[in-house]
Symmetry: C2
Subunit: 347 residues, 2 copies
DNA sequence: CTGAAAGCGCTAACAC
DNA sequence: GTGTTAGCGCTTTCAG
């Protein structure tokens, strides 16, 4: 007498197989199948074998949406970056996703376009999707804490990368920007530069820290730099413009430290177009070690900021925060940068 | 008599607000609130106003997991690319996510590391997460159709970008690679090159198409090229090596068309290191117009492949496939490339 | 070791 | 206009 349908079901082609289907086929309860799927120990060896066989046969895939709803964990973490096109963030993203994958997590990446409003709404979406954690390279104004409060109200663990927000009750992973500024500037000094300019970045922690490091290194060496030696830019185009301004100065700088590689590359373009040699006339150094720095007109010296390591560490910390019951105190991890000397600061 | 709890609930700090909470507070049914949230018309103006007010007050955010389970739509589309670090894919990703966002969709990006096995398992994960659609720049072996069959068995709409798979029953959006090959080669010919080499890409459709275009252009111009003039590479490092091989040839090429910009940039590095001038000694052109091409040792001529447009169109087509009931025939969209002449092919 | 009961938070389909 | 009834596919809890 057939109570539960045939034992051998055909391989389905459209509607996904459910636990229920397997349970029915095998005359066991849904619970038992569920336990096998999740690898619980309390299932008889024989039963487990039969279930496993049928699972393979039907190519059963758990429905993560249902699992998430019932289990109140989505195994998704959200990442918000200002610009995926910037290789630094692409690399951080790669480091994060490679690290969390083995834990069963996936990452949803959002672009804020360097806009605080867009960022907030992205975060809200991510929260609505019930992400288990959040990693942010935030474009918020340092003084606005509203969105962070919203995250905290939801009790979702989050962590900042690249940009530090003072006072936020969240961990931070980033490069040691002061060290970057110091390494770069000291290198220029060691190469004989005495009139060292800096193309500073935006008023976010990396920009501020690198500028600070630049000043520290100059002070330590007893070198003075006029205010006009510090200009600012954010990308290759504005780096080009900024360099133009520096070139009009008298005396002209003999060394330029660019906030990041694109800025430095843009500056090099301007310098070369003015018929000034690099490194003969002006030496240039950047930061970030983007992968194409070696292919530029003049291979660009730079300070590597271990983007991938930043991603990996951030992911590691967040996973820990998610899986541990009691919340630990927020921590700050500064990844050590390393100098990479190339032709642009050669002799 | 208090049957339903206090009318004024405190603003909750941890457990997210649910439809149920709002319904209870306002003494209406969950359905009514749900309808208001989704903007259904059949709700009284007065009721709607009260609901809306309470929603704002409590900062209610719909739980998308629950919504997805009940509604059988996740509003998530999956994207699998071989390498996010490659700016082409980053740009495609950006185009896709910008396009689908207004429709309420988010994108989950996965990296296949150019590995078919990794790709398959990523796709399975995405399927398990019940994505509504899939966009693939696939690293599968052209002859293996297994993973595509699995997608089709699930009835999930999918679409290929960048790499075309013959015989697959899916739409395709990509650059017109033959035209890219032709434009680049014709440009070198127009600049006076007669011994034109090609650093070909891998055996996937873009590589194959560009090589074909290269051959077409040469044939059309009545120019012969020995077999040794076609070498292959995949990135800047191997492009450098490939160029080294070309430089040992006699007669030596006077023009080189690189499969993509990184390859061409690597080739330029090799050429310059050999003391040969660009464009005086050898002219070089790439493809892809990566954003730093203009900053290279010699600004690189290239063929732009409209990466962003590829992403946008792909997204557009997929959304249509998802939202339309009856499935339309798969279509092929070839985005027109455009030549960008810079110094590397100058006079 | 196995399973029944009770949801997770929401929406579809239909009554009132 | 509004509310009821039934789930979506899974997990949690706890009884057998």
């Amino acid at each position: 007498m057939v109570l539960h349908g045939p034992r051998k079901m055909p391989i389905p082609t459209h509607a996904p197989v459910r636990l229920k289907d397997i349970a029915r086929d095998l005359d066991v309860s849904v619970m038992t199948v569920s336990k096998v799927v999740r690898g619980c120990a309390d299932v008889g060896a024989e039963t487990r074998k039969r279930v496993l066989a049928r699972i393979k046969e039907l190519n059963y895939q758990p429905n993560w949406i249902a699992r998430s709803l019932a289990g109140r964990r989505t195994y998704i973490i959200g990442l918000v970056v200002p610009d995926l096109m910037h290789s630094f963030f692409a690399e951080v993203a790669k480091g994060i996703s490679a690290t969390i994958r083995p834990y069963g997590y996936d990452v949803v990446i959002c672009n804020s376009e360097e806009n605080a409003g867009v960022e907030s709404s992205e975060i809200d979406r991510l929260l609505a999707r019930q992400v288990d954690g959040l990693i942010l390279a935030s474009a918020q104004n340092p003084s606005s804490t509203e969105i962070f409060e919203r995250i905290e109200a939801r009790g979702v663990p989050y962590l900042m990368v690249d940009r530090h927000f003072a006072g936020r009750n969240a961990s931070y992973v980033g490069a040691d920007d002061e060290v970057i500024g110091r390494l770069a500037t000291e290198h220029l000094i060691a190469r004989g530069c005495r009139r060292i300019a800096h193309i500073a970045g935006p008023q976010i922690t990396p920009g501020v820290g690198r500028l600070k490091g630049y000043r520290q290194a100059l002070a330590a060496a007893g070198i003075e730099a006029p205010d006009s030696f510090v200009v600012s830019a954010t990308d290759d185009a504005s780096g080009y413009e900024a360099a133009l301004r520096l070139l009009r100065l008298d005396p002209r700088p003999d060394g330029i430290f660019g906030y990041n590689d694109p800025v430095a590359a843009g500056a090099m373009k301007a310098i070369l177009e003015h018929g000034i040699g690099i490194p003969a006339g002006i030496k240039v150094i950047g930061a970030g070690n983007v992968h194409y720095s070696d292919l530029l007109r003049v291979p660009l010296s730079t300070v590597d900021q271990a983007s991938n390591a930043i991603g990996r560490q951030a992911a590691e910390i967040l996973i820990k925060a998610i899986t541990s019951k009691r919340k630990k105190a927020p921590q700050t991890v500064l990844v050590e940068p390393t100098l990479i000397a190339r032709e642009s600061t050669g002799d």
